[in-house]
Symmetry: C2
Subunit: 325 residues, 2 copies
């Protein structure tokens, strides 16, 4: 039997319920033969939902976790107060077992970040960042960091994000020297808010960062840089404004199609939906953890679980290649 890459999936915390997460996991197993999953959540719910697929049983583990950390819990204290929550159990599992390569969760972002820091911090304890890897215009990928883990940042934190993003892109895509851009309101070094201007100077002087300068919002997803650095507030705007505008244009096309009776346009709509997958746009990867942790969107659907599982698999395989060099 070939090697399985096992990932933990916290089935609780999604807006759409445990059943959706489990259906997504089954679809991911169908799609990726090298994948194994450990489903963490209400044992009886998971057993019932997976019973229809005995053919996949050998690649499914189940861990019972009766409790749940919600968005109403304080991320700082929930980890201590709810040791039987699906999130804590999933984090401990990934932390303790060498054969578990990563984790997917669709619940509280704050608790996931705090938990990754607590259970999955690497050799050097670093402040984690929430990054998104976005398809750029020229076919490459841009790692946007941070997208919401740290809302108020100083300049040193932005420099730290540049390091985390560069390391990640170096490992995931084997780029020798990832190009780092700084999100600002103008291309000139004099443009930016106070923190961005300070960060510009730090990035320019950092010898281990390939800093290419400020990037404006128009070029955020142009592929001009491999890593785009900003604070969590600005990164959240880049992500959500992109999502809002893309969704709006696609809605406009649907309306235009109905108004003109040109039903052929619906093929174009599918094509664009394939590129601008709003569900995956809303997710993110926690950088700075010892193993890859993916935060799926609270409103993620089955397909986004398939995609995020595929991404974890990709990271795990690449890491193996990379570390085996």
């Amino acid at each position: 039997m070939e090697k399985l890459y096992k990932i933990a999936i916290d089935t609780k915390g999604s807006d759409k319920g445990q059943e959706m997460m489990i259906r997504g996991a089954l679809m991911a197993l169908d799609r990726h033969p090298a994948l194994g999953v450990c489903l963490v959540g209400d044992k009886d719910v998971i057993e019932k939902a997976t019973a229809t697929r005995p053919d996949l049983a050998s690649r499914i583990e189940i861990v019972d976790a009766p409790d749940e950390i919600t968005n109403y819990d304080s991320p700082a204290t929930a980890l201590f107060e709810k040791p039987n929550s699906s999130l804590v159990k999933a984090l401990m599992l990934v932390s303790e077992r060498d054969d578990m390569t990563g984790l997917i969760n669709a619940g509280s972002t704050g608790a996931l970040i705090a938990g990754s820091m607590r259970f999955l911090s690497g050799k050097e304890r670093v402040r984690p960042a929430l990054a998104a890897v976005l398809p750029a215009e020229n076919g490459s990928f841009t790692c946007l960091v941070d997208t919401g883990a740290t809302i108020d940042c100083g300049a040193a934190t932005l420099l730290h994000f540049a390091h985390l993003g560069s390391d990640f892109m170096r490992r995931l895509y084997r780029l020798d020297s990832p190009r780092v851009g700084l999100l600002s309101n103008g291309a000139e070094p004099t443009k930016g808010n106070k923190v961005v201007k300070e960060a510009h100077a730090l990035l320019r002087d950092a010898e281990d960062i390939n800093f290419i300068g400020n990037i404006e919002g128009t070029g955020a997803l142009s592929g001009a840089c491999d890593v785009l650095v900003c604070d969590g507030f600005a990164g959240n705007q880049v992500l959500k404004v992109s999502e809002g505008i893309a969704r709006r244009l696609i809605t406009d096309i649907v309306k235009y199609s109905k108004a003109t009776g040109d039903s052929g346009l619906m093929k174009l709509v599918s094509h664009l939906m394939g590129i601008y997958d709003f569900n995956s746009l809303g997710g993110g990867i926690i950088l700075g953890a010892a193993k890859p942790v993916i935060k799926a969107h609270g409103a993620a659907n089955e397909q986004s679980i398939v995609n995020t599982a595929g991404m974890l698999l990709n990271i795990a395989e690449n890491r193996e290649i990379f570390e085996g060099q």
Copy 2:
């Protein structure tokens, strides 16, 4: 002869040169019979470029201004050092003459804002804001304020922007009680950076503001609010990310059209280009000045001059109706 609404157009400062600004002005005159323009710039250039249209001569004034304020000048000092610049001459003209209802400029934003404060401050001297009026998803318009005049803002400044934006939307669209939203990274009052959280409390307690709460980037242009408040850094991102993504989707459609040989899609492209006019998206209105001042995008084309002139005309006519009530 019917009443003319006269506006000053600073023909210098555009990336595309004086001739483009003058061509835009002539097109605006063709389009709007109630419009008169005063073109400020190199007299000989303007005379040559307008000589082809003697039929419009009665609606054109020319003011010679040999000097120009560029993006390389310091906005704070340029106004004093360059009294013969087209911008200073245009501002003085609008300030001194009752028959001039507004101003269009495509040059240095900083100098325009500083100049509006110096020459066109209202009864109460207020810090001006640079707003954009954007077409929302539901067919209404949203006033985004600030889009770049003040990059570093405190909470009190955001409250001030809410007042400026509400006043403007009340006047321009005669809304009784414009709905004000605060741009944040989540809908809950606890979401936001330090300044945004403070501003949330100020806005909630302000009796003369119809505050509806936080708005996320996904809903920035949904029409959920009439005035969307944020600092100039975030506003610049909303504007430029929207522009970048819309342009990218439209480019995708063009590529898809070529790949599939479906040339009928180019009609859809024109339709979308009409809605997402990048040139006008990049412009802005200075709020807090005694008369409306429009900053056109540095890369604006003739059509955007026509559109901005139409907007000034609209404001002038509405103001008259409003103040005549």
